[in-house]
Amino acid sequence: MNDTDPTPALPDLVFHVLLALGPGPSHGYAIGKDVEEQSGGRLDPTTGALYQVLRRLTEEGLVTPVDGPGDVDSRRKYFVLTKAGRRAAAQEAERLAALVRAARQRKLYPQKA
């Protein structure tokens, strides 16, 4: 259990959700689609799983609900990244990049073309 790790890795799904929100506000169904495409079909969260993540992220202050465009289903909820959310995504990307660098140094991963 990672309770005491100061900068733990983000779970896969969480990072993908943050990625999906990178370009701007989006809603559950679209986020789900984006995650599925981004991950090449590897991740396909159910509605329940996705909203669990969105709720946690909201609680953690990484995303926040915003008003959507006026012309859509009023039940639909839009989310947007907060500053902390952008920072967390950047940190995770940095962590992954560092891992990739390390893998390259050890000849485990091809150099850039």
Binding site: V14, G28, T47, A49, L50, D73, K77
Partner: protein, 905 residues
């Protein structure tokens, strides 16, 4: 959709408030997206989404503690804390991984549960759709069946017939009833469209659909004027007949069909789900009468809709008063009281008890299955005792450890629930295919939202039952680390838990075995009763004569005689005869009678009997035994002699202690100069009793057999009460070749007489006997399956527990053997310890069964619910199985080589 919304309620309120609507919207989009991608994709999406929701609900609930802890940590550590956030989800993932790593354990547990859940869900679906779910009519609780009783004949209820006279009385004067309708059913011949066909027809008053509050799918129902004598002949088709005979042609309304030789206009088609009074009826025609010429004969069944706010009791009181009023004018209505009952009870009341008992039985099976799975988890948790102890020592809370185990239980239960739902669906499909056709509302059975909810509830319930048992066994901190250091995870407390489970399984299995044993014995008794006739090697079928063509009794009898002659000419046919009503066929024609020389005694109920019109030697051909006198012979029938044969119940009831031969009886009816006189009938023979309604009737009914040439016919008014109408007769054919090979020859023979005659209900006498017990055999079979499953699961449970104990004590046994203990002593020691538990279980089971088998009394025939033979045999069987289940591991213990045993340490 509502199911999703409902399941959403399982998750905590805050989540639902914030995101519920948004989740519903997303779910709806996914479903509509999947709808275009086909059935399979849709069901995949459905089940994934539902599983996701369940996982969410579970992890949100059980993850609450984790979240609190996380907040606390957050104050200490700055920076993004996303990694800590999915403790619960992680727990689920980890548990899933652990389960996947032990596939045998996981599958064994999930399949055990799945089978038990499937049985419960399938039976529940039947109980719910048949017994609980209201009839498919608006405000169905206000529908009543007009049942009656005759207290003077010791009959509180069950007389579901009434006369036109009473119908008009109720329709005009009953204030408690919003609307009344009457109907009767019978067979009719449809000609002109391919082979002539015998159909089941209901004749109903135009008010029927306003009572039921349904409308035809196409066209209209009958109007008032069509329900009046002389009104235009009109018919409404069932959806099935419409599809079968008219190819679902919407232009069918207004066309004409020929029913019993009468051109009849089709005015409407009913919806597919409409089946009143039962699903055999394929055509409705208007029942016709007038107030002026209303009959006093009990030929109708009535249904009514209570006025809003009226109780059934006040309706009964009013109807009884109206009958009393009517009986001042119409004498034969005297002494009848209303026993009106809710229509649903009247329809399913008979099978409701059996279904509830079945549900109880499979519920017990689920308990046995839970005990088994709990056992599996107990073993699993103990092999983890050290891992748990390490976790505890490192600061995991008691709750954390509980969650560790409970997550596994919940996942296994979910898997079991999914397997169960799938199997239940299969079981219901099988039931729809092969279930007894006598089960009312069979076609309404399906796995619906309620059954799904029931599955979820069962799954959660099962999780709680077998999920908490291992938790109770969690050792307090520290104990496990220094205790059991030699790798023995077992402790005395867990032995006790395991033994309690084992004893409970024995007790539950015994109760089920007893119930099933009683059912089997009672079924055997039912099948062994003296039928009073010989069902083997006899083919029966009915032939109806269109009244338009055969308008007199004489014409009808001539045709029947012609058919009999041609049938007896078929090679291989030994005997042929015909009757208006076979054994087990129900009431047919019944009437009271007068015995010559017996003074009328108003205090005594009139003698009465079921009347059957027959051809020569009918009583001999169906195999009734001749007790006195002779059968009716050919010359009696040809010459129309006024002679009859009666059964033993008739002779014993009305001529106690004397010979009825040459005594005379006569049909009893109100005097009326316009009707032909009824002749005195001389009794010439007495035959054995045969069942009228069902096998194992408590009292046989009096029956009377008269030559068909003096019975009723189309040219004889029904009010004359001469005897049953001979236009529709049932033939019995005894042959030396298999009855099934005769069908073609029979059709040819009848074609030679008249190719427009329809043959229906072709079956053997044995079929009729089997059918009348198929509901009993169906219930018996299901309970026997439940008991067998419980016995098997129980045996596996005992075997598992004893094996486990032996394995745990291998070291100790090794020491004993090394010290010179006899292998036999070791085996006896192992057996002895289990025997105590098994005997305790049997004692509890016997006590429970002694109290509980009363519940199935109404399903039993000819046997006490505490039948000692069954109790003894069942107990011995269970002891035997339990002994084998203990003996196998005990033998293994005895055969241990001391060296190996000690090395196993």
């Amino acid at each position: 959709m509502w199911l999703y919304r409902w399941l959403l309620r399982l998750s905590p309120g805050s989540l639902r408030r914030d995101y519920g609507a948004a989740m519903e919207e997303m779910f709806a989009r996914r479903i509509s997206e999947a709808r275009d991608a086909g059935m399979w994709r849709r069901s995949v999406v459905w089940s994934r989404e539902l599983a996701g929701l369940l996982a969410l609900a579970l992890s949100e609930r059980y993850g609450a503690a984790a979240r609190l802890r996380r907040r606390y940590h957050q104050q200490l550590i700055s920076g993004p804390k996303a990694g800590a956030m999915d403790i619960a989800a992680q727990e689920i993932r980890h548990a899933a991984r652990r389960l996947v790593r032990t596939p045998v354990f996981t599958l064994a547990a999930a399949l055990t549960l799945g089978l038990a859940i499937a049985a419960n869900v399938a039976i529940f679906a039947v109980v719910y759709r048949v017994v609980i779910n209201p009839l498919p009519y608006p405000q169905a609780s206000r529908l009543i069946l007009l049942d009656y009783g005759v207290p003077a004949r010791n009959m509180a209820s069950g007389m579901t017939s009434m006369a036109w006279q009473l119908y008009f009385q109720l329709a005009d004067r009953a204030r408690t009833l919003e609307e009344v309708a009457v109907y009767n059913t019978g067979a009719g011949t449809l000609t002109g469209r391919g082979t002539p066909e015998r159909l089941q027809i209901a004749r109903a008053t135009p008010s029927l659909l306003s009572v039921l509050r349904v409308s035809p799918a196409l066209g209209r129902w009958f109007i008032e004027t069509e329900g009046v004598t002389g009104g235009a002949p009109v018919a409404v088709l069932s959806h099935g007949l419409w599809s079968r005979k008219f190819g679902g042609d919407r232009a069918v309304v207004g066309r004409t069909l020929t029913l019993d030789g009468v051109p009849t206009e089709i005015v409407g088609v009913m919806p597919a789900e409409f089946s009143f009074p039962d699903s055999r009826v394929e055509l409705w025609t208007a029942a016709q009468s007038t107030r002026a010429n209303a009959s006093f004969l009990f030929t109708l069944t009535g249904v009514a809709r209570l006025r809003d706010g009226v109780t059934i009791d006040s309706a009964r009181t009013e109807i009884t008063a109206l009958i009393a009023d009517l009986s001042q004018r119409v004498r034969n209505q005297t002494g009848i009281v209303s026993a009106a009952a809710p229509l649903q009870d009247a329809l399913v009341g008979r099978v409701a008890t059996a279904l509830w008992i079945l549900l109880g039985s499979v519920g017990l099976v689920l308990l046995v299955a839970c005990a088994n799975v709990a056992n599996l988890f107990l073993v699993r948790s103990e092999t983890r005792q050290r891992e748990v102890a390490v976790r505890r020592a490192l600061g995991a809370s008691q709750r954390g450890v509980a969650r560790f185990f409970f997550t596994e239980s919940a996942l296994v239960a979910l898997l079991g629930g999914a397997i169960g739902l799938g199997l239940a669906w299969v079981a219901v499909q099988l039931l729809l295919q092969f279930g007894p056709p006598t089960l009312p509302r069979l076609n309404e059975i399906r796995i619906d939202g309620v059954a799904m909810t029931f599955t979820i509830a069962l799954t959660l319930g099962a999780t709680v039952i077998f999920g908490t048992i291992p938790l109770l066994r969690l050792a307090p901190v520290g104990v496990s680390l220094h205790d059991n250091t030699r790798g023995q995870a077992s402790s005395r407390g867990s032995h006790r838990a395991r033994q309690v489970l084992m004893g409970a399984q024995v007790a539950l299995a015994l109760v089920l075995l007893l119930a099933s044993g009683l059912m089997v014995r009672s079924f055997q008794k039912l099948r062994a009763i003296d039928l009073g006739f010989e069902p083997s090697a006899a083919l029966t079928f009915s032939v109806g004569l269109p009244e338009a063509k055969y308008a007199t009794r004489q014409a009808a009898v001539a045709v029947h005689r012609d058919i009999l002659d041609r049938l007896s000419a078929i090679a291989g046919v030994n005997d042929v005869s015909t009757t208006t009503c076979l054994p087990l066929a129900g009431p047919c024609f019944g009437n009271t009678l007068v015995v010559d020389g017996e003074p009328f005694d108003p205090r005594k109920p009139n003698p009465w009997a079921w009347w059957r019109a027959v051809s020569a030697d009918y009583t001999a051909v169906v195999g009734m035994r001749l007790l006195r006198g002779r059968h009716l012979d050919r010359s009696d029938v040809d010459r129309g002699e006024a002679v009859v044969v009666v059964n033993k119940a008739f002779a014993d009831g009305y001529f106690p202690g004397e010979s009825p031969i040459d005594r005379r009886v006569r049909s009893s009816r109100p005097p009326n100069v316009n009707l032909p006189a009824v002749p005195w009938l001389r009794i010439v023979g007495v035959v054995s009793n045969t069942p009228t309604f069902a096998l194992g009737e408590p009292t046989p009914s009096p029956q009377l057999f008269m030559p068909m040439s003096i019975a009723g016919g189309p040219d004889i008014p029904r009010e004359a009460l001469t005897g049953p109408d001979v236009t529709g007769m049932i033939y019995v054919l005894r042959s030396s070749i298999p009855p099934s090979d005769l069908a073609n020859a029979v059709r040819n023979a009848i074609d030679q007489v008249d190719p427009n005659l329809a043959i229906a209900q072709v079956r053997t006498l044995q079929d009729i006997v089997d059918r009348s017990s198929d509901q009993a055999s169906f219930t018996m079979m299901l309970i026997a399956i439940a008991a067998t499953v419980a016995l098997l699961l129980g045996a596996i449970g005992i075997y598992g527990v004893v094996s486990y104990i032996v394995a745990q004590r291998t070291g100790e046994i090794g020491v004993r053997l090394a010290m010179g203990a006899e292998p036999r002593t070791v085996a006896r020691m192992v057996l002895g310890q289990s025997a105590v538990v098994i005997v305790a279980g049997i004692t509890v089971g016997l006590v429970a069964a002694f109290a509980g088998t009363q519940l199935i009394q109404s399903l039993l025939f000819g046997i006490s619910p505490r039948d000692p033979a069954v109790f003894v045999a069942t107990t011995v069987l269970l002891l035997g199985v339990a002994f084998v289940a203990c003996w196998l591991p005990a033998r293994r213990a005895a055969r241990l080589s001391p060296l190996d045993a000690l090395r196993a340490e």
